[in-house]
């Protein structure tokens, strides 16, 4: 087996330091790893915030932390987990695996991809830096007028508004990029209806990103100018209507929750067939139900607002539309179970998490259907019942699926298998801790415990539920530590994972683990769904021979570039300019102006940068 490979980054005439290599990389795999690493750090920060919240709520009448800090914690926990953990963890898989699954050497716009990463990372650091001055404290959906200047006079909500705006730029750029990549960079023969399900879920997710993020962009602009320039979009005293914020937020916000869960659907749809040794049941039904979920996702936003008094007509419409979503979602769950049914099930760690996902997601889905009934929702809204519901879909759903994906794809990303024993310990701890944390919240909520409450008097019947939830949260934290231990332990072992450790069906398993910089030495040609299984069946083997590493001679790859990072810094400065006190503030102040100039110059330099300015000789 040929293992002598020239890493082109080091083979070039001038050797670049590792740091420069990563700062200027346009390689989708390196970008994916950086997305994953930074999102995991943010995930830990968000988790720490959750632990503090749970410690404060462990018993009645506690004052472990101040009420003001508590508000910051739950706001930042929600914001972090949604925008800085789950979305970028999905982006890690988009980046690393979409080109591999469709048989491409990179994404359509490698430098734009790098810019998305840097804008996301800088935005995330910016949001978390707010703890120095006072973190956002108005809740993750920033309801006006609470988030306006009158009720949030400090810089707290400025950080939130501008941080989210920055993150939106990263998501939109990535949306354009991945939509184009999937439609236009597929291997020969890979028609749309032959694409792996994870690729499909990514494509549908990008549609949601592209059509929903502009709405929050505008809403954030309104909130920002309300706060900075004193306009009255959401100020009742000026005739403004805070309901407009709620509507615009949820026109974005509901597609956003599908942005969080659809990639998880895709990951599960990859793992179940592989570990059941059976093709996915009802492929086209899976595709169409996903598209239908996405489409309906734009017509249900007001079910987040039943308690605002929209009137019976609107309530009925949004109730019915919401109930409709249960149909395509039910189809998906049915098909997943149909996939396992009669399969030769291999109970490896990824499969554990995938099966855990199905069970937990069904529970979250059922309480979701309960919310669609407007009169029932009036009882449940703003209570811990809702907190239980969305953690069942976001943690029991998205995080379980992302963890399943991590175990499944780890060998491909890093060339090392994660330990099965520790992995299963991780699963059981996480499943226990998760249910211990969130299941009691259903009861606390139905007994009337409001969400976001700083503390509660004893004897209302939810003391025990809260104590259980706190214990569960710490069990969850231990399960994450077990995962980290698994990573550290296996990292010391040699990188000797085979190309196809699980018997996969998709193209990423046809190339060495980890892949070489150019992914495919020869561009693959696809003849059907589950291409690798077709090849194996034709050859009558369980595993294809280990693919040889090549020297990549003659393969043209885009060169590294500084401009994505520089443009990202410019965008950050430009946006920060809006929240600074005069004379540093944007319109005439230096910071925003410098940011604007850097962005503009960066874009021009980028546009005229020769495509392979630093290309390494092959």
């Amino acid at each position: 087996m040929a293992t002598t490979v020239l890493d082109p980054a080091h083979a070039g005439t001038r050797s670049r330091s590792v740091l420069v290599e990563w700062l200027t990389t346009v390689d989708h795999k390196k970008i994916g790893i950086m997305y994953g690493a930074s999102a995991f750090v943010f995930f830990l920060i968000g988790g720490l915030e959750a632990l503090l919240i749970r410690a404060q709520l462990a018993g009645p009448n506690k004052d472990l932390i101040s009420p003001e800090f508590y508000n910051q914690l739950f706001t930042m926990h929600g914001t972090t987990m949604i925008f800085l953990a789950v979305m970028p963890l999905s982006a890690m898989f988009f980046n690393f695996f979409i080109p591999l699954q469709i048989g491409a050497r990179d994404v359509a716009f490698p430098r734009l991809n790098a810019m998305s990463l840097w804008v996301f990372l800088l935005g995330g650091i910016f949001l978390n830096a707010s703890f120095i001055w006072g973190a956002p404290n108005g809740g993750w959906f920033g309801y006006a007028p609470l988030s306006g200047r009158q009720y949030s006079p400090g810089v707290n909500m400025d950080f939130w508004v501008i941080g989210l705006q920055i993150l939106g730029i990263a998501s939109l750029a990535a949306g354009v990029n991945f939509f184009t990549t999937i439609l236009n960079m597929r291997a020969r023969g890979m028609t749309l209806m032959r694409m792996p399900m994870f690729t499909w879920s990514t494509l549908v997710t990008q549609v949601l990103v592209l059509l929903s993020f502009p709405v929050i962009t505008v809403a954030l602009i309104y909130l920002m100018v309300d706060r900075v320039f004193g306009t009255g979009f959401f100020v009742p005293a000026a005739g403004g209507d805070p309901m407009l914020w709620q509507h615009l937020f949820w026109v974005f916000g509901h597609p956003e929750v599908y942005i969080l869960i659809l990639p998880a659907f895709g990951i599960i749809s990859e793992i179940l067939p592989v570990f059941s040794r059976k093709p996915l049941f009802g492929y086209s039904a899976m595709v169409f139900s996903m598209a239908f979920i996405a489409f309906l996702g734009f017509g249900v936003w007001s079910h987040h607002m039943f308690s605002t008094g929209m009137g019976p007509l609107a309530d009925s419409f949004f109730s019915l539309a919401t109930m409709l979503i249960a149909i395509p979602t039910g189809v998906k769950i049915f098909n997943w179970i149909g996939t396992i049914w009669g399969g030769s099930i291999q109970l490896r760690t990824p499969m554990y998490f995938a099966l855990g996902f199905i069970a937990m997601f069904i529970m979250g889905g059922l309480s979701g259907v309960m919310h669609s009934v407007a009169p029932a929702d009036l009882q449940q809204t703003d209570s811990y019942f809702v907190v239980a519901h969305f953690h069942y879909v976001l943690f029991g759903g998205s995080i379980f699926a992302i963890t399943a994906g991590a175990y499944y794809w780890w060998p491909k990303m890093f060339g090392r298998m994660l330990d099965e024993g520790i992995g299963k310990a991780h699963f059981w701890l996480m499943l226990t801790g998760f249910n211990l944390t969130f299941f009691p919240m259903h009861f606390a909520g139905l007994l009337g415990m409001p969400r976001r409450i700083y503390t509660y008097p004893g004897g209302l019947g939810f003391d025990t539920y809260n104590l259980l939830a706190t214990v569960g949260a710490f069990v969850l934290a231990v399960s994450i530590l077990v995962f980290m231990w698994n990573v550290v332990r296996t990292w010391r072992r040699p990188a000797d994972a085979p190309a196809d450790p699980w018997g996969g069906a998709t193209l990423e398993w046809a190339i060495p683990s980890p892949p070489q910089e150019w992914n495919f030495t020869e561009e693959p040609v696809v003849s059907g769904k589950d291409e690798l299984w077709t090849l194996k069946r034709a050859a009558g083997v369980r595993t294809l021979p280990e693919p040889a590493r090549s020297d990549g001679r003659g393969i043209h790859l885009p060169g590294p570039s500084w401009w994505p990072l520089i443009v990202a810094i410019g965008i950050l400065l430009f946006m920060v300019g809006f929240m600074l006190p005069r004379p540093w503030a944007f319109p005439f102040g230096p910071v925003g102006l410098v940011g604007f100039v850097i962005t503009l110059v960066g874009i021009f330099k980028w546009a005229y940068e020769p495509p392979d300015a630093h290309a390494t000789p092959h």
């Binding site: 059509l211 509507h247 734009f298 017509g299 007001s302 009137g311 609107a314």
Partner: protein, 122 residues
Amino acid sequence: MADAHAAEHEHGSGGATYVKIAVVLFVLTALEVLLYEVCYGESMTGLASLGASLEPYFVELLLLLSAFKFWFVAMFYMHLKFDMKLLSWLFTFSLVIASVVILALLALFTYNRGLWWPGGLW
């Protein structure tokens, strides 16, 4: 790609068509302004009776005229008529979602103010 461009020219999206479209767009814009002037302006008092009969449909007519302009620019200047169907679908899909969101928001807010379709909408 060269084929695609050649095909475009065969379909006659050349200079002459572009000039015709420009004239049409100009005329439609003139009609929009004219419609406003006839219905509400002070300079066209001679056409007061025409204005009175058009006035109830002012918004609908205006939207129709701009829809035509939109269509002409999208179809001919943006080449949708000659380009891949996918692009038309892409644009149409987002326009449909955008329009539905606009109408739904308008309906929700006018309904909240005690008005209802169509009087409250415009």
